[in-house]
């Protein structure tokens, strides 16, 4: 074992660059031409296919697979992208095991679904490699629309609006567009700067002016946007992070999983990224799994996910739990944090076992920890937003908010799962509704 692996504390370079790069390779490597044909051949071309219904963007999956099978992946890509302009990213990040592939009739019958996600990647990679943008803009309508947030929801909305002939100003607080595609998705799902390449490819539609570094609430108000534009779409995502609310939460070494991942995604050399020897991740969703797995891949010796309810209730899919476990991450369930111990920096974290109703059992244990990640959910932040429902912006089925002329979609809006593909669907549908309401 590399001696650096054993040193305690948060430090970079636990493994050398080559080993880290190998570890962060594509989680689902692309299919080559032959593999794609073999995979496509397994599709039964089901009528009213369950996979299509399960996809939040309702891609005509049997049709695109048939188009691959008949040697026209470009046409397949068009079928995909006409429903889901981020079909390339979705092919990489969708938890297909709980969406399309879960209901594939061959999954149900044989436990081996058609590899829809990888086939989708095969088709979309084909057109992106050709640098072809398959859509053209309709005649200009003269309408101007502000889209706030350049994550999947905002991008899908902006693209659809631009395609229908509207002029779009797309603003984002961050220095780069893409939202969590750029800053959040696990690195091994979006390799080779795919998020940025996809945005550049998407922008080829024209008619979208991108303004980075512009924050709603800081640089511009909703009132002003409403006054200046014919419509406003909010795709703000969830900017805030839930606090642990336990003693010692503020000790050095305790951080938000999303910030850690954002740093990781932006690092030009992963070997320079510091990581602990004993990492504890608190949470049970995709973010917890991603933070844990990536810590492990950076060379952390012991990585533990601690989730407060039973494993069956984890938001991360079984596939992701198994992914974490296969990388050597330990998952402890039914335990809630009580306090973070240490002298300045964290040294241990103490938990108490809880039952599924979160009632405390009185049984406690401590885990050694030099780095602790909070992954217990994100929250909407911002003032002067449209009316909320729970902790999100209330919207109807087409994304309309309580404010006339303001639509919202993606993670910041009520309804739907917090997934890339759902954000795309909601952004697209809001664009259609904006178009209808502006054009009559």
């Amino acid at each position: 074992m590399d001696p650096k692996a054993l040193v305690s504390g948060i430090m970079p370079g636990r493994m050398d660059t080559a080993a880290i790069e190998a570890a962060f390779g594509d989680l689902h490597p692309p299919l080559d031409d032959h593999e794609a044909l073999v995979a496509a051949d397994r599709c039964y071309f089901c009528h009213d296919a369950p996979c299509q219904t399960a996809c939040p963007t309702e891609i005509d999956i049997p049709l695109f697979i048939r188009q691959i099978a008949t040697g026209t992946p470009e046409a397949a890509a068009r079928t995909i992208l006409s429903q889901n302009i981020l079909g390339g990213m979705c092919a990489r990040v969708c938890p297909t095991e709980t969406l399309c592939e879960e209901v594939c009739v061959r999954e149900v019958a044989e436990g081996k679904p058609v590899e829809i996600g990888r086939l989708q990647r095969y088709a979309t990679d084909t057109v992106m490699a050709q640098n072809v943008h398959p859509f053209e803009r309709d005649a200009a309508t003269g309408k101007r629309i502000a889209v706030v947030g350049a994550g999947p929801a905002g991008l899908a909305c902006a693209h659809r609006l631009a395609m229908m002939g509207h002029d779009v100003v797309l603003m984002d607080a961050r220095p780069k567009p893409g939202g969590l595609n750029e800053y959040g998705i696990a690195a091994y799902k979006s390799t080779e700067d795919f998020a940025a390449r996809e945005v550049a490819w998407l922008m080829q539609i024209g008619g979208i002016e991108l303004r980075n570094g512009v924050a709603l609430g800081r640089d511009v108000t909703l009132e002003a946007l409403k006054a200046e534009y014919d419509a406003v779409f909010l795709g703000l995502g969830l900017g805030g992070v839930n606090a642990l609310g336990v003693d010692g939460d503020d000790r050095e070494g305790v951080a938000d999983a999303v910030s850690f991942i954002a740093d990781l995604r932006q690092a030009s050399d992963l070997a320079t990224l510091p990581v602990g020897r004993d990492v504890v991740v608190i949470g049970g969703g995709m973010t917890a799994v991603d933070a844990a797995v990536q810590s492990k891949l950076l060379g952390a010796l012991n990585v533990t996910i601690v989730y407060r309810r039973s494993q069956a209730r984890m938001a991360a899919s079984v596939y992701e739990q198994e992914l974490a476990q296969s990388k050597g991450v330990r998952i402890i369930c039914s335990a809630s944090p009580v306090s973070v111990h240490g002298n300045g920096a964290v040294r241990e974290i103490e938990f108490e076992f809880t039952d599924d109703a979160l009632a405390r059992t009185g049984e406690r244990f401590r885990l050694p920890a030099d780095q602790v990640f909070r992954a217990i959910g994100q929250t909407l932040t911002g003032e002067g937003l449209p009316a909320l429902e729970g902790r999100k912006i209330a919207v109807d089925g087409t994304g309309r908010t309580s404010l006339e002329g303001v639509w919202a979609g993606g993670d910041c809006a009520s309804g739907g799962d917090d997934l890339t593909v759902t954000a795309v669907a909601e952004g697209r549908d809001a664009a259609e509704d904006i178009h209808m309401s502006l054009m009559g």
């Binding site: 031409d33 032959h34 044909l37 051949d41 397994r42 071309f45 009528h47 049997p62 049709l63 048939r66 188009q67 099978a69 008949t70 040697g71 026209t72 470009e74 046409a75 068009r78 079928t79």
Partner: protein, 434 residues
């Protein structure tokens, strides 16, 4: 995107994909759904005489053969022409045509071989607004026992006679649908041509028994212990249909006779192949019956992409391969190629080795660590290894450059072509030279 608009003997349709006369076109409900799905035209399920309609069996009508993964490759049927009253069909045709004026609607007809019968039905069909008629001289079962269908299609004189009647009694364009159950497809096609047909369509189904029930000792589909031959269609018949289409397309006597290609069209590629061999459009039955109407969307996107990539128009495609359909005796014997195995693609299954070693020319070498290589001094370029290899493009046939030496024969590869007609071993040629 390429323009797929089709004009077949003056009948316009938004694309060259028509549904063949068969169950998919047997009623208004189906045809409307087909048009909604994007089909360019339909040939309505064959109409019979006025009066009590024919009846179908009440047991199974289909038999099938399957490939791996139970993919349907061939379908056999013993269905007859429409079993619904003529008036009902005519009324529905009229209503559909009114609502879909841009789509092609052709009436397929089969009535007894008498002038009165044809004279009687044609004006009724004309009344519906149909764009044309197709004479069903193809159905190989049931109707043929009653002197119709392929019983007419197998006698060129009848074909010519009936075609003449039709041309005499209607101005609608007339397509004659041919049966493949003959020895030389050019004879019935020529008869149709002579009778004044505007086009021929082919193929109808092929006489077949798909399987035998080994407990009942009866052909399948089995009805109360007995079976009858049916008509075979689907992907399995495509090669037969392609050849028949090509035979007509390259026959000097029928130059320019429009052809509607039918038989096993399942993907855009199949359609493009039929068209390259001279078909002005294609008709589809089994593929729609297997996968539903939506497949036309793949056919449309695929054909358009192909035309765009080739930078040709749809009319450019039609007949483009016909000049290259030749006779064996004219193939260049100085064209020499060798199989070549791409080691990066090879998955070491050894199928090529088994095929060549056991049944061909012992021209593939297998090493102890399962590397397969072609022995150029044994390879006769038969192509069998290419066809049995499960990996596309793993084994390719590489042409030998003129001037190089073929290690199998030790002879220099000649640049000038030479075929059997001038080969020294050809007795005809030797006689001529004497």
């Amino acid at each position: 995107m390429a323009d797929l608009t089709s004009n077949f003997i003056g009948i316009k349709s938004p694309n060259p994909f028509w549904l063949a006369s068969a169950p998919p076109t047997d009623k208004e409900y189906n045809v409307r759904r087909a048009f909604e799905a994007g089909w360019g035209g339909v040939v309505w399920k064959t109409l019979g005489e006025q009066g009590p309609p024919v009846v179908n069996v009440n047991g199974p009508r289909y038999g099938a053969i399957w490939g791996a993964d139970r993919r349907l490759l061939g379908l056999n049927n013993i269905e007859l022409i429409t079993d619904r009253p003529l008036e009902v069909n005519l009324r529905e045709m009229k209503s559909v045509k009114r609502d879909y004026p841009d789509r092609a609607l052709i009436a397929s007809i089969m009535v007894p071989c008498t002038e009165e019968a044809w004279k009687a039905i044609l004006p009724l069909v004309e009344e519906t607004g149909a764009d044309g008629v197709e004479l069903n001289f193809g159905c190989p079962h049931g109707m043929s026992e009653r002197g119709m269908g392929s019983a007419v299609g197998q006698v060129p004189e009848y074909i010519e006679m009936v075609t003449r009647w039709v041309k005499q009694y209607t101005r609608m364009p007339c397509i004659v649908k041919l049966t493949p159950n003959i020895t030389d497809i050019r004879k019935p096609a020529m008869a149709a041509h002579a009778g004044g047909a505007d086009a021929v369509s082919l193929i109808n189904t092929i006489n077949s028994i798909t399987s035998v029930d080994l407990d009942l000792f009866a052909p399948e589909p089995t009805i109360d212990g007995k079976g009858a031959h049916g008509g075979y269609c689907g992907p399995a018949v495509k090669p037969i249909a392609l050849n028949m289409v090509a035979e007509i397309a390259r026959s000097p006597e029928m130059r320019g006779l429009p052809i509607s290609g039918i038989g096993g069209v399942t993907t855009w590629k199949d359609a493009a192949e039929f068209m390259a061999l001279g078909a002005g459009n294609v008709q589809v039955c089994t593929a729609a019956m297997t996968y539903g109407f939506k497949i036309v969307q793949e056919m449309i996107s695929g054909l358009a992409q192909y035309l765009d990539e080739k930078e040709i128009t749809l009319p450019d495609l039609v007949g483009r391969a016909v000049p290259n359909v030749s006779d064996w005796q004219n193939l260049n014997l100085n064209y020499i190629s060798k199989a070549k195995i791409d080691q990066d693609l090879c998955i070491s299954c050894g199928r090529c080795y088994a095929a060549c070693e056991d049944t061909s020319h012992q021209a593939i070498d297998m090493s102890d660590d399962r590397v397969f290589t072609v022995k150029d001094d044994e390879c006769v370029a038969c192509n069998l290894c290419v066809n049995v290899c499960p990996v596309e493009d793993c084994i390719t046939m590489e042409q030998m450059a003129p001037g190089s030496v073929d290690p199998r024969t030790g002879k220099v590869v000649e640049a000038a072509p030479a075929d059997w007609t001038s080969h020294p071993n050809n007795p005809m040629c030797a006689t001529a030279a004497d």
